[in-house]
């Protein structure tokens, strides 16, 4: 899908800290071993450069301080900086920062391996469904 919103070439960048995405068959994965807030901060300069958000950074109902994993889809092509993307990533960062400061240690650091796997799975499910509905692959 291109930036004008017309369904055309199905290309995107998949920025994630979710290891389950790596083996999911989703192409163009850029994996970063970091937390969700840091991932957003990595994405912000990409948006400055002119890559647009295809998915909302705060997908799902699980808060960024609770889930350790997030996957964000960006456009593969650069253009003039997308205003909505700039605004959304900015607000997502602020939203995550506020929630990270709720507790001495944010909740996402507290989970055992089984819970982590489940968070990964839910994130993957959301991205899969998003791609299916938007017919991108």
């Amino acid at each position: 899908m291109n930036r004008k919103g017309v369904n055309s070439v199905a290309v995107f960048r998949c920025i994630t800290n979710n290891p389950m995405i790596l083996n999911s068959g989703i192409p163009q994965v850029e994996y970063h071993e970091t937390d969700v807030l840091s991932l957003f901060r990595l994405i912000q300069p990409e948006i400055d450069k002119g890559y647009a958000l295809l998915s909302h950074p705060l997908t799902g109902s699980i808060r960024p301080d609770i889930t350790p994993y997030k996957t964000v889809l960006l456009s593969a092509q650069k253009a003039k900086a997308d205003q909505q993307s700039l605004q959304l990533i900015d607000r997502a960062i602020r939203y995550a920062e506020d929630l990270y400061s709720l507790r001495e240690k944010p909740l996402y650091l507290m989970w055992d391996d089984q819970a982590k796997k489940d968070f990964q799975y839910v994130d993957l499910s959301i991205i899969r469904q998003a791609m299916e509905v938007e017919q991108i692959r």
Partner: protein, 428 residues
């Protein structure tokens, strides 16, 4: 269309040899109900528990809450697409068990939360604590994948609710209310001087534990659509969303949708309630825009003067909420938004993930980040282990006396974004 809700007030639920409803007591034959649920081959075993108002009981983790309803007359059956066929509902008579609900508990994923406390401080944050609750505990067969597990628990809850309300068939209700909703052309002529009000019910469909069903269909990827309010009261919308307990719209919130109820009550008096538009909250930005634009197109077609928009969840849905607000206001349709906030422990943060200057009329249902200490309960229904990990495995959150420090966001329905509860925030 006309729908009558026959209300039966439940004073207690008791297990018995034979299921029945008599003198306000709902008797449940566990064996018969279990057999009914076990028709689903994905269920290994099932057990039931009862929680009553005032008891020292905590239910956790809760997936969905459902109000028992069953059709006394009219077409179709309650929860179409799941319990009933996909036939039209929303007419005739529906029997309703008041002060009573089903709370499904089942650990689909290892991080699940969702608390109902039947007494103490936690009980002041939702209506469910004041209800008689039947809890089906569903144990699936081994190796069941998570999507099927979720669906299994979801359907078992709906079947349980229908089974319970079915016990009232052909009895005299304690009270009954009739709601009428004409065709749009008819009401346009009938109430030509009243402002035309549309309700935009934003539903969330994004993936596992984040889906919503209408007449049995997962409405992911739909263009915004319209549904009759009376159909919603017969369980046409079902929650498959089991994340974010404080502000997800459980099935009971759909069945008793407080915005629909209020608009129906005022229909023909100070407003004309045109209908309900369903707008999906997608994960994708283009879809969010398409949905909001399309919803605003439909509103225009319907001749709406004003609208109430409710959201489900927090974070990305705020973008849908604000897009809908902006697009409608730009078309001259006045909006009121209903939401909640995450404005921090002290309430000093900006509580929404997206905002727009057009949003000048907003109802908030509370700050989910408020911390409360919940007292130890004598009994836990569901999964005791979950209590330990509910706040992220933080041992400190469980006090020496067994009390639990949580955000009210962990309490089922505490900040319901349809405005089901009686809470707001004030600035100080």
């Amino acid at each position: 269309m006309k729908l009558t809700l026959n209300k039966f007030y439940v004073k207690d639920i008791q297990f018995a040899q034979k299921s029945a409803f008599a003198d306000g007591i709902l008797y449940v034959d566990k064996k018969e109900l279990a057999e009914y649920l076990m028709e689903d081959p994905n269920i290994q075993s099932v057990d039931f528990d009862i929680a009553r108002p005032g008891e020292s009981v905590r239910i956790i983790p809760i997936k969905d809450v459902i109000q028992p309803r069953y059709k006394q007359s009219g077409t179709g059956q309650i929860f179409p697409g799941f319990v009933g066929d996909v036939e039209t509902v929303g007419n005739g008579q529906t029997n309703v068990l008041e002060d009573c609900c089903v709370a499904t508990s089942g650990k689909i994923v290892a991080f699940q939360e969702g608390i109902i406390d039947m007494c103490g401080l936690g009980a002041t944050y939702n209506s469910f604590s004041k209800m008689n609750i039947l809890v089906p505990l569903i144990y699936p067969v081994e190796g069941l994948d998570k999507h099927t597990h979720e669906a299994t628990v979801r359907v078992a809850g709906l079947k349980t609710a229908a089974y319970m309300a079915k016990q009232t068939l052909n009895q005299n209700p304690d009270a009954s209310e009739t709601y009428e909703h004409e065709s749009i052309l008819e009401m346009g002529a009938k109430y030509k001087d009243l402002p035309k009000v549309v309700y935009v019910d934003m539903v969330q469909c994004q993936g596992l534990m984040h889906d919503t069903y209408v007449y049995g269909l997962n409405v992911k990827g739909i263009l915004s659509t319209m549904i009759g309010p009376l159909e919603v009261l017969d369980g046409a919308i079902i929650s498959g969303n089991c994340a974010a307990p404080g502000h997800k719209n459980a099935t009971i919130h759909h069945e008793c949708n407080p915005v629909i109820m209020e608009l129906l009550k005022r229909h023909g008096k100070d407003l004309c309630f045109v209908g309900v538009l369903l707008n999906n909250e997608s994960a994708m930005l283009t879809e969010k825009k398409r949905a909001a634009y399309y919803t605003s197109n439909l509103s225009q077609l319907l001749g709406a003067d004003g609208m109430i928009i409710t959201e489900e969840g927090g974070g990305n849905p705020e973008t849908d909420l604000m897009l809908n607000c902006r697009f409608h206001e730009k078309k001259g349709i006045k909006t009121v938004l209903i939401t909640d906030e995450y404005c921090g422990r002290d309430g000093a943060s900006q509580g929404l993930a997206d905002v727009t200057p057009e949003a000048d009329a907003v109802v908030t249902n509370g700050n989910g980040n408020q911390f409360v200490v919940l007292p130890k309960m004598d009994r836990v229904i569901g999964d005791v282990e979950t209590v330990k990990i509910i706040t992220g495995g933080n041992a400190n959150s469980i006090g020496q006396d067994g009390s639990l420090s949580v955000e009210i966001a962990a309490i089922m329905g505490s900040c319901c974004e349809m405005g089901y509860e009686h809470m707001t925030t004030r600035l100080r």
